[in-house]
């Protein structure tokens, strides 16, 4: 339910003609909700641009897969290439937007998503390159962890994937913009109150006062 909500909200950020790299999980699901009339060129870091939905059984190609090694199709006009070319696109600033998941994000726009000391050891994969190189970075995640702790922190406690790169945070409860001077609340999800957001967000929300006033009036 909240997965779907987040995926649909991500899709509102797509603009016609954008080159976009979507992370595994909820970000990838947002491709199902690209608005009609908006053409988005999806990039996959293992070496594909303009890929389409997964193939039917019997029609997969062993040499066409996404970054999770799952079968994909290529759209007419799509291109395949090697990983060095792919990361020239990513690190070289040619990709307009990336949407990624995270363990924590903080009010300075730093993100932790690749390591929990003593618990999670996966390696950073292409995440650091994507976060550095893509023009716009959106983090999509649940607002709290499974224990109910805020994943939007004053300062990340886990090892960073990148420092001060995040532009927008989309959760199941709210949407935030990360500005030079801090975090701004932009939207509340249906039936979520300002008080609830305040309680579930450790980070300082710069414009929380305006939201409280508007809720009272």
């Amino acid at each position: 339910m909240s997965r779907d909500y987040i995926a649909k909200r991500i899709a509102k950020e797509f603009r016609d003609g954008m080159y976009v790299n979507l992370g595994i999980g909820i970000p990838t699901e947002s491709a199902n909700y690209i608005p009609a009339g908006t053409e988005v060129f999806l990039q996959t870091e293992n070496g594909g641009l303009m890929f389409g939905p997964k193939p039917e059984r019997g029609e997969s190609d062993p040499d066409l897969a996404n970054a999770g090694a799952e079968p994909i199709t290529m759209l007419p006009g799509g291109a395949v290439f090697d990983v060095a070319t792919s990361f020239a696109m990513i690190r070289g600033g040619h990709i307009d937007m990336t949407v990624v998941g995270a363990l924590e994000v903080d009010q300075a726009g730093s993100i932790a998503s690749w390591k929990i000391p003593g618990k999670l050891l996966t390696g950073m994969g292409g995440a650091m390159d994507l976060l550095y190189g893509c023009k716009r970075v959106i983090v999509a995640m649940t607002h709290t962890d499974k224990h109910g702790n805020s994943k939007i922190r004053k300062r990340c406690t886990l090892p960073l994937t990148a420092a001060a790169v995040v532009d927008m945070i989309i959760t199941d409860k709210a949407v935030f913009r990360v500005a030079e001077d801090g975090l701004y609340l932009e939207e509340l999800a249906a039936a979520v109150t300002v008080a609830e957001i305040e309680r579930l967000t450790e980070a300082t929300i710069m414009n929380i006062g305006e939201w409280q006033e508007s809720e009272m009036s």
Partner: protein, 236 residues
Amino acid sequence: MAVQITTQEAVKKIRDKSSVMIGGFLGAAVPLKMIDEIATAGIKELTVISIGAGYRGGGVDIGKLVLNKQISKYVTSHVGTDPNLIKQIVNQEVELELSPMGTFVERIRAGGAGLGAVVTPVGMGTEVEEMAEKIIVDDKPYLLFKPIRADVAVIKAHRCDPLGNLQYKGMSNTSPVMATAADIVIVEVDEIVEVGAIACENIGTPGIFVDYIVKGHSYQERKNVYEELWIATNKL
């Protein structure tokens, strides 16, 4: 000029303690037959250089070398797909050398292209700073990483001619860069065609980089292998 040999002959080019690059991406477009042959031959203490671990869940493709405990060092950007490998890293049976994915590929490219280092901003402000030397270029801080080379590269292409000219199909992944960066380069292909059958503009890796050719599964056989794997893992 490349020489066609069997997988059994090719695997003899890899010895205990060799460093081996393996092309592909998390199990996709990997040299399946050569990996099986390395597993069968039981070569030990390998340094494996691969962009990520094997197919999700482990035990498949490169994951077979993990199950056999043939790897003593893994040079990569991601191991999250193979829980067996993670266990061996945690138990310190396998040494892990990580770099961000784009940096990993450029280190191999540098190794093959005769460059002295890779200088990149990626990883600044993170733990990656501890994995590299910091340098300043035009007042901007960068991380300096050393090139990567290997004794042997085992890569995958769709087809080749007897000169070792390779044509890729779909994503070529890491194979084109790895082809440049090892003392011995072995390519596994779906089919071998006559000289001239691959138009010059379709040659993805020129034969100058390739030493040995082995015949892998046909394209149709490989398609069947992946269809089965993808269906069994709910991806298709």
